[in-house]
Amino acid sequence: MEVTTVNEDLGRALLERVMSIPNGHKIKACQQCGACSASCPSSYAMEYSPREIIAALRAGVLNRVFESSTVWLCASCYLCTVRCPAGIPFTDVMYELKAMGIEKGLYKKDQHNIKMARTFTRTVEKYGRNAEVEMILKYYLTTNPLKLLGQTSLALKLLMKGRLDLFPHRIKGLAELKKMVAAVEGGSNGS
């Protein structure tokens, strides 16, 4: 069996931060019942189920939390949050873990989901909304350009059905959106 290193001090600090989000302290009351994992539509693809992430986080087994795909695969459907008998705000916890992973550089460098997340955020920052073609192009160019070829037939089909816009659209009031995002981010840094 794999012997896992437990970083109790760093773990403690990160745990405190997760618990500082609204209702975050409820992860202390997790019964490890697994309702979250069984409800999660992405859990089949996760290395560790959401329940195991909570267990690992509480135990300070940080590599499982940050180096696995789990937090990056959360689709924000909130089903786990709705069903959790302990009232844990799972989806919010997942976001907090993503943010912490990036901040502290705890993620695995070949973790493509992070790049996907980044490309997505930057596209949204630029246009105020998603621009599928540009985002996918950028994502594959930074990860695996060859894989892009495999997506062409899907892209063509989407184009034919009018489901894909080749050119990005900017939303109205992008400047206001940026101000709002800046204000929120400023707030979350405690400034």
């Binding site: 019942c33 697994g34 309702a35 069984a38 859990s43 189920s49």
Partner: protein, 1116 residues
């Protein structure tokens, strides 16, 4: 005067001393004013500790004592008793809490010590101002009220009854036994629930010291410990519990079925039922929701829902029998009644009202066709009654009295009986043959009818030997308008016209006929004239169509048959040379509404015109025509007979009157009602009973029944002959519906009243135990103690949508599965799916609702064990694969862990993980047609989908319905989830903060049978110890009033959480009921005039206490 105060500092082992430097506190205390001695000790509450205090009181002459130790909740009584023992008033003592409020909650020794000093100083300063107080005692009555007859209540009742004290056991349900009576087996021993419960139920019922109030609820509780006054509302069972032998014959004849609540609605029961065969009391009861609205609306109170229910069951003879017991002339009524019942029929709010009258006609005609006679009547009464008048009122009275066993003679002045039915209602509505048939039947039943026998003097009948007389003389005279020329030939009163037509003494061939009036009889006259061959028929009415008193359908039919209407027209004269030729009319307009609410018509001047008319029928009303020897009867100014509206007594003793002769012309069914009312009076009169007592009982009308799931269906239509075929003669217009239509129509009834009151059970019940007119009763009892044992209700699993309860028929809750396992349950103990198949795989989901922030925060304590029991029973009975989905297995009781281990050896699958959902959407071939339980097997770290045929949701426990009301009634408090709060969770688990009230069983928190029984016994012990002692010592630390200062503003009354303040209206002051006051001080704080004060919380005591704290703070 200077006091001598002793200060005693407790270490509480190391509980206090490890955080508080007691030696330093002692040194400080010695410096405080009036302190004579300071001592410290390891355990001040121990005997040596107490002795130390007592010795100092005696030897040093202490007159005040302060103990600094734990919470007064624990040891205040200990030290007060010690003071008592040493001869010091127990209220010259003060306790300061340096454990719970100091050492336990602080870690900094220095600061904790400073705080302890302040607390001690406060107590020392305060106690100096204490006054000696006297305790008061109240007597405690020797009876106990137990609310709730589940296993906890039963246990408590038996314990108390055995000790020789009286118990009132009040149970809301029709039987005692509670939830346990529904269970199949009990964990962990698997003994049969009924086998261990029913002997106790019987014991309770048979115990001479137990008075059982089932089907009853506590409505009001007043008073205080030892002297509670309780009002218990006894809902009517409609079956005499003593007479009922529980033979069950009534059930077989009852036509009404409802879902069986005892089987968790998985089977049906009749309207007359008992919860289960071993019910206690073992007597049936009738489920009535109230008076059916059809019956409530019927002037004659006919049991419409009853005959409808019987027709639905194709029991036409029984239906007919029921109608006959309500009405003398069923076929007549089925044709001519204006059926107000249908207006009120609840089915009308869904689609169309049930065709009630049509069904009555069907049953009556069916009986006539099939030669079915009503049940023969026996003469059981001595008296003999004379009925004067053979119309509907007279015949109804005769029928009712003959039913009750009296001999009745009807005196009819005409050649044939029937009154207006015979002479005024046209043949096309009511054929004479139908009337004859109905009347002949009455004669066959033993009612003597003497025709051509006018009666002049009712008192002569009394002298002849009749015990009583009912005058049903009718209104025999048509009203006249009093206009010019009204006496001409060719002007007829409506009654004379209709009678002549009926006797075939008149034709109108080629005539122009004018009918004056807008009522139903005007329609009868007009439509009759059409049939008699009139060239034209015009109805002249002085108001407009909207104001016409005639029923809409009558007007429509008349129009269809060619009758013309002239509205806002009134005749002023009949013109003609000897014979009527023309009628002169004036046009009218509508003015202000008159006393009848209709707008008063006023003539328009100069609008006169004339109409040709060969015959003018005055259909503007009827009058009483009382002639001859009736002059002794008191009359009203309208000429009607004066009779008491309730009893129908006239001014002549033994002579009653009713019907049209009293009320003026009214409908047939109202005449029936009057006849029945007279019969009731005569029955009472002849048997020497009070004529008024208990009459016209107000029975509430049943609430609207649920129409959920009821399909819309059109109402049956009576066959009707086409208008073209009608006018040539007097053929009856409507026909009787066919049998299949009748049954279908009867099945449309929504059974508003619950029990249909078809009276079949009454016929069947040999011991005559059925009391259909039983009323609710309120009894008042006085008790010394109260035990609350109201139990729980199961968590409603449909609140968790992802588990599919209520959506998938094969998802059951715990109680439903209990019934499925039970030999007396809906499947006779076979565990079958909703399709009636044996399940191959069963899933049991633990923690449904429990331990879940979204529903019940707490663990319901019993579900793990009952889930294990279910797993065992399911395995044993079906051999199916059984899966338990659990988070933790809580098997904490005696023998429970062993039971769990036994199950582990029984090939049961235990999957550690909470099911996330139950779905019927298959993802794999083996899931087709199955329910799939989705979960994470947390021990394996994999998600699983388990296909099963049946899912059992082990739902948690919630407080019973109505617990809220009881909380208010008894001034109880609630803890988590709404369970009643005990006085102390560990040391007083069955006491409540209200003295004299105890808790037992699941009302205090979820618990299993052994725990509930233990609490029942414990609560009994609590109640017994109070009652045995016979007195209760009241804490004198209560509020009081300085009467002169009280302004009577009542602010304190509104604020008192214990309802302990009353208002003395004479003195205009509020008065504290010391027995109820808990000394919380709320009233003192809220009193704006400073009139309220509280013993031991005087201003100077509190000020001194504060000064003590400040003193210590300064010292530090």
């Amino acid at each position: 005067m200077s006091e001598k105060i002793g200060v005693y500092l407790c270490h509480c082992g190391t509980n206090i001393s490890q955080t508080v430097d007691i030696a330093e506190v002692a040194r400080f205390a010695e410096t405080l004013p009036n302190v004579a001695v300071v001592r410290e000790y390891k355990y001040m509450c121990s005997n040596p500790g107490q002795e130390m205090i007592k010795k100092d009181i005696r030897e040093l002459g202490l007159d005040r004592v302060v103990v600094s130790s734990c919470s007064p909740l624990l040891h205040e009584e200990t030290f007060r008793a010690a003071c008592d023992d040493a001869g010091l008033n127990r209220f010259l003592f003060q306790m300061s809490n340096v454990r719970e409020q100091c050492s336990w909650v602080h870690s900094d020794r220095k600061k904790a010590t400073e705080k302890a000093k302040k607390l001690v100083a406060a107590a020392v300063m305060r106690v100096a101002k204490h006054e000696p107080l006297e305790v008061r005692k109240v007597p405690v009555r020797n009876e106990t009220l137990i609310i709730g007859g589940g296993i906890a209540g039963i246990e408590a009742a038996l314990k108390i009854a055995e000790s020789g004290k009286k118990v009132y056991l009040v149970e809301r349900d029709s039987t005692i036994g509670g939830h346990m009576a529904k269970f199949d087996k009990t964990f962990p021993t698997l003994d049969c629930a009924a086998c261990i419960l029913t002997p106790k139920m019987v014991q309770v019922a048979d115990h001479p010291n137990v008075e059982l109030y089932t089907y009853s609820e506590v409505e009001e509780v007043s008073g205080y410990v030892g002297n509670f006054k309780v009002k218990v509302r006894k809902r009517p069972r409609y079956v005499d519990v003593v007479k009922c032998t529980a033979c069950g014959e009534c059930v077989e004849v009852c036509p009404i079925e409802f879902k069986n609540e005892f089987d968790e609605n998985m089977s049906t029961r009749k309207a007359i039922f008992r919860a289960f065969p071993q019910a206690v009391p073992n007597a049936f009861l009738i489920d009535k929701k109230g008076k059916a609205p059809c019956r409530a609306e019927c002037p004659a109170g006919v049991h419409a829902q009853g005959y409808i229910a019987l027709i639905a069951q194709r029991r036409y003879a029984d239906a007919f029998d029921l109608i006959m017991s309500d009405l003398p002339l069923p076929s007549v009524c089925g044709r001519v009644c204006y059926h107000p019942c249908e207006e009120r029929c609840e089915r009308g709010s869904l689609d169309e009202p049930v065709a009630i009258n049509t069904l009555k006609r069907f049953a009556s005609d069916w009986a006539a066709e099939n030669g079915v006679e009503p049940a023969p009547r026996k003469r059981t009464k001595e008296g003999k009654v004379a009925v004067v008048g053979g119309g509907p009122a007279g015949l109804a009275c005769a029928n009712e009295l003959s039913k009750r066993g009296y001999a009745v003679t009807v005196f009819e002045a005409n050649e044939k009986p029937g009154g207006m039915l015979r002479y005024a209602i046209p043949e096309y509505r009511l054929p004479a043959s139908v009337l004859d048939r109905d009347i002949e039947r009455l004669e066959k039943l033993g009612i003597e009818i003497r025709t051509s026998s006018p009666v002049d003097d009712p008192e002569a009948l009394l002298r002849e030997g009749y015990g009583g007389v009912f005058l049903a003389l009718g209104a025999q005279k048509s009203s006249s308008m009093g206009i010019e020329g009204e006496d001409k030939e060719g002007v007829m009163g409506m009654l004379e016209f209709l009678r002549a037509a009926k006797e075939k003494k008149l034709t109108c061939i080629g005539w122009k006929v004018a009918v004056v009036g807008g009522g139903n009889s005007a329609m009868d006259a007009a439509r009759t004239a059409v049939r008699l061959g009139a060239e034209s028929v015009q109805v002249l009415y002085r108001r407009s169509r909207a104001e016409m008193p005639a029923h809409d359908w009558e007007v429509e039919e008349a129009e269809r048959e060619g009758v013309l209407f002239k509205f806002l027209v009134s005749p002023v004269a009949v013109l003609g040379d000897g014979k009527a030729e023309k009628v002169k009319c004036v046009r009218m307009r509508l003015g202000e509404p008159d006393e009848s609410g209709r707008r008063r018509p006023e003539p328009i001047e100069g609008s006169e015109f004339t109409l040709d008319a060969d015959l003018i029928v005055m259909a503007i009303g009827q009058q009483t025509d009382i002639a001859g020897g009736m002059e002794k009867l008191k009359r009203s100014k309208w000429g009607t007979i004066e009779a008491d509206p309730v009893t129908l007594e006239t001014n002549l003793k033994g002579v009653f009157a009713g019907g049209d002769a009293v009320t003026g012309a009214a409908t047939v069914v109202e005449a029936f009602a009057a006849g029945k009312r007279a019969a009731e009076s005569l029955d009472r009169y002849l048997s020497g009973k009070d004529l008024r007592e208990g009459r016209d009982k107000e029975i509430p009308v049943a609430p609207s029944p649920s129409t959920e799931g009821v399909k819309k269906e059109p109402r049956v239509r009576e066959p009707v002959i086409p208008s073209i075929d009608r006018v040539g003669g007097f053929r009856e217009i409507t026909g009787t519906i066919a049998e299949e239509d009748a049954v279908r129509e009867a099945l449309r009834c929504l059974r508003c009243g619950g029990c249909s009151e078809c009276m079949e059970c009454v016929k069947k019940c040999e011991p005559e135990a059925i009391i259909h007119d039983q009323l609710e009763e309120t009894v008042e009892i006085e008790v010394g103690t109260i035990i609350v044992a109201t139990g729980y209700r199961l968590f409603d699993s449909s609140r968790i949508p992802q588990y599919g309860y209520g959506r998938f028929p094969d998802v059951y809750n715990g109680l439903e599965f209990e019934r499925l396992c039970h030999a007396g349950g809906p499947t006779g103990g076979k565990i079958l799916t909703s399709k009636g198949e044996k399940p191959e795989a069963i899933a049991i989901l633990h923690c449904v609702g429990s331990r879940d922030e979204n529903y019940l925060d707490y663990c319901s304590r019993v579900c793990c064990m009952y889930s294990l029991k279910f797993a065992h029973l399911a395995k044993e009975k079906t051999g199916a694969k059984v899966y338990n989905f659990y988070i933790d297995i809580r098997a904490f009781g005696k023998g429970y862990e062993e039971f769990y281990k036994r199950l582990l050896n029984e090939d049961i699958y235990f999957i550690r993980g909470k099911a996330s959902e139950v779905t019927a959407v298959p993802e794999y071939p083996e899931e087709e047609g199955k329910l799939v339980v989705v979960c994470e097997d947390t021990l394996l770290g994999i998600n699983r989908r388990v296909p099963v045929d049946m899912v059992i949701l082990s739902a948690g426990m919630e407080p019973a319905e109505g617990a809220d009301e009881l909380t208010r009634m008894l001034s109880l408090s609630c803890t988590y989830g709404g369970f009643f709060m005990e006085k102390h969770p560990k040391l007083a688990p069955v006491d409540t903060p209200t003295d004299g009230i105890f808790l037992a069983g699941a009302c205090q928190g979820p618990k299993d049978i052994p725990d509930a029984v233990s609490q029942g016994a414990a609560a009994a012990a609590g109640a017994l110890s109070l009652m045995d002692k016979g007195v209760f010592v009241l804490e004198p630390v209560t509020a009081d009033r300085v009467e002169e200062l009280c302004s009577g503003c009542k602010v304190c009354i509104a604020n008192c959480p214990y309802s302990a303040i009353e208002f003395d209206a004479e003195k205009n002051v509020s008065v504290v009921v010391k027995e109820l006051c808990k000394g919380c001080g709320t009233c003192v704080a809220s009193c704006p005039s400073g009139a309220a004060f509280q013993e031991n919380f005087a201003d100077d005591q509190i000020v001194n206490e504060i000064e003590g704290i400040l003193l210590a703070a300064k010292g530090a």
